[in-house]
Symmetry: C2
Subunit: 119 residues, 2 copies
DNA sequence: CGGGATCCCACTAGATACTG
DNA sequence: CAGTATCTAGTGGGATCCCG
């Protein structure tokens, strides 16, 4: 039998050409890792997340949170039904499997800053 | 004293709000990690890289290779000056510091495929 | 307070054709 | 062989306004 197809990987309906790109598909983008990085330490409210990421816009934060939720990495808990809403975000069990990776990503970033930064 | 500025990190003239995003700025995007993943095992020629990534276009591969080179992660060696060109890409010493991270990214992707894939 | 709706721009990446 | 040129589509992300 022949296999010309590059045998794509599949997750949540999206196909990836290799295991590395699957990971990047889930945590890639400008903000997802930053969100995960902060949620890795604590459960946080929307407004708390915003404070840790002062340069993100509300819309973008919402979209990224939604994407992470759809990929099953974080969960969203609503505590009130009346206008002073309280929503908390935290990692799911699946999301927690990412912790060592996120930590490595952060560590390498630190390493670069210490050793190669042109700041 | 007060420190209102979110104290940005700096690398190669680009600023990042946190160490995790710095890393993602260097290895993020749809193809960079895939390239690094393949170069982590071997030095490869342009055409060999293409074979390992059948779905990327030539233009995109060129751009990503150039970006990785500019960030100092890979190096480009030209072996001929006449038309049958031979160019090899490999990791720099700096790029090699990423190997454990790339491996972790690939490993997590594999883990997801094995345990959560809907393929 | 926690977003959703809308509009817009810049950048990423694809398709195809061509060149040193 | 290893790219570049051009043209285009898709998407990430910003700004602003609005709503429960």
């Amino acid at each position: 039998m022949e296999e010309n197809e590059p045998k794509m990987l599949n997750y949540k309906g999206t196909k990836y050409p290799c295991c590395a790109s699957l990971t990047m598909g889930l945590i890639g983008g400008k903000w997802k890792t930053v969100i995960l990085y902060h949620l890795m330490h604590d459960t946080l409210r929307y407004s708390e997340l915003r404070k840790t990421m002062p340069t993100v816009t509300e819309r973008t934060l919402s979209l990224q949170l939604k994407a992470l939720e759809e990929d099953g990495l974080i969960k969203r808990k609503v505590y009130t039904s009346k206008p002073p809403l309280k929503v908390e975000y935290s990692l799911t069990d699946f999301g927690k499997t990412l912790i060592p990776l996120i930590q490595s990503i952060a560590d390498w970033g630190d390493y670069v800053v210490e050793n190669y930064s042109d700041a």
